[in-house]
Symmetry: C2
Subunit: 282 residues, 2 copies
């Protein structure tokens, strides 16, 4: 009859929408995947009690394997709801399912939900329109140490834009990268690539459990000590800060006026260097 | 006591969250601004009846003027909720209010909501991580014809990234830019700037009323005829499309395989041109 793919948002049961509740009420079968992100304060049992319905947890190996054929067979005649943390379509996993369903003739309804991508602007005051491509910092492996985060950061800074780093997470193995680990990866990438982007004066903004009551937002330089909250975390390197953003980082993230103007000067130099490098091509 | 700034999401009452409802239940005073975006299917009266409370509409001139001092005076002793379309912090308007409140010693709680920024990935299948800086196409005035959208598009394409154009809107004057008007602006910018980005073969994806039951998603070239839905609209110029994105544009947006591979070839040429231009700087 229909497959509903719906988001649970960012904190406990708080971000569940009226639209999701309506479909859940009518649902013949409810599944939830909890591996693409962590929802702080979320308890499956609490949700089941609240809804008065039982919910089946599905794993990555289910949703990315043959099991989805079974799911689609059920959804052909029944109303099936699949719940996911945050907004389901920020992770790319669920798009394959949506396309597969449509190709099999199963109707699909997607219900959006708040995602950390929105929340960081509210938490930090950094202008959403100035964020360029987000990038995930993945846990380095012995033979796998991708430099993408470093080059995305460099490109963004050359335009004065903000960079949002999402930190690697493997919920099924109980792993969530913390801020220090992410910083270590960036420092190591600086050593390898050596473009002079990351040093003790680079300005970072760390956000833990964005939008939750336990949210922690901190602006700091690599040389500063800082404390972060509990996962999930995101890390930002801001670009050129306008007046409101500069004020926001002071009011919301504990930055000082001096640190902000030093950082703005540095970003200005990076932008100017970049334009003069490009001058020969014009 | 507290100022709660909360989002209403994208369609009717569907995206109202449990968190928003809880605060509204306890609220002493509820305001709503409806000028930063359009929520299709939303009726203020329906919301008032649903909540059993009356809601005061505030205008741009209120929220961006002296009235916010009155608001903050009330919020000092009472629970005040301000509702906004979409996610309130995607528009920059509400950050000034948040900062002003905190500086005045008023506690602020921000409740995130789904925004069109999330919905476009669900609607089009275009990978969220490949969207670079979004940019608004503003209605050109006699002496004001900003070229920002054109140059943001060019920058993004040179990296193979997607560009999201938000279309100008002036709810209080009943104006919402439609897709044809946005295309005209881009064509005019091509004439003025002449970098060979926009021509009859440029691939566009238009999304009207993203995520709503009346959503319309169409992929087309400038030379194709197309029909769009009702506002609000967004317009996308995709970058390099991977396999899932290419399939999604066929399944969800009516593109053909041929159009997609022609576009991918063109984006590849733009990326390569850009790298050879840069070669002299390396």
């Amino acid at each position: 009859m229909m497959l509903v793919i719906a988001g649970l948002g960012l904190y406990g049961l708080r971000d569940i929408t009226l639209g999701v509740l309506e479909y859940i009420k009518k649902a013949d079968k409810i599944f939830v995947e909890l591996y693409t992100s962590i929802i702080p304060g979320f308890e499956l049992q609490e949700l089941e009690i609240f809804l008065g319905k039982s919910i089946t947890v599905v794993k990555r190996s289910d949703l990315e394997g043959r099991w989805i054929q079974e799911l689609l067979d059920v959804a052909r005649d029944k109303l099936v709801v699949l719940l996911a943390p945050g907004d389901p379509f920020i992770a790319t996993t669920h798009m394959s399912l949506k396309l597969e369903a449509i190709k099999k003739g199963v109707k699909v309804t997607c219900l959006p939900a708040p995602s950390v991508i929105n929340a960081v602007s509210a938490s930090t005051g950094l202008d959403f329109y100035k964020f360029c491509r987000p990038v995930t910092i993945v846990k380095p492996q012995r033979f796998y140490f991708p430099s993408t985060p470093y080059f995305v950061l460099m490109e963004n800074l050359m335009k004065g834009a903000h960079t949002l780093f999402l930190l690697d997470i493997d919920v099924e193995r109980g792993y969530a990268m913390d801020i220090s680990e992410a910083l270590k990866v960036l420092v190591e990438l600086e050593k390898r690539e050596n473009k002079g982007i990351i040093d003790e004066n680079t300005l970072f903004v760390a956000v833990s459990q964005a939008s939750s009551p336990n949210e922690v937002v901190r602006a700091f330089r690599l040389s500063d000590s800082f404390c972060s909250g509990s996962p999930p975390h995101v890390l930002i390197v801001p670009g050129m800060l306008n007046l409101i953003e500069a004020e926001a980082l002071q009011v919301l993230a504990g930055a000082t006026h001096e640190i902000i103007s030093m950082w703005n000067n540095r970003v200005r130099r990076i932008i100017n260097q970049n334009s003069s490098l490009h001058a020969c091509t014009r």
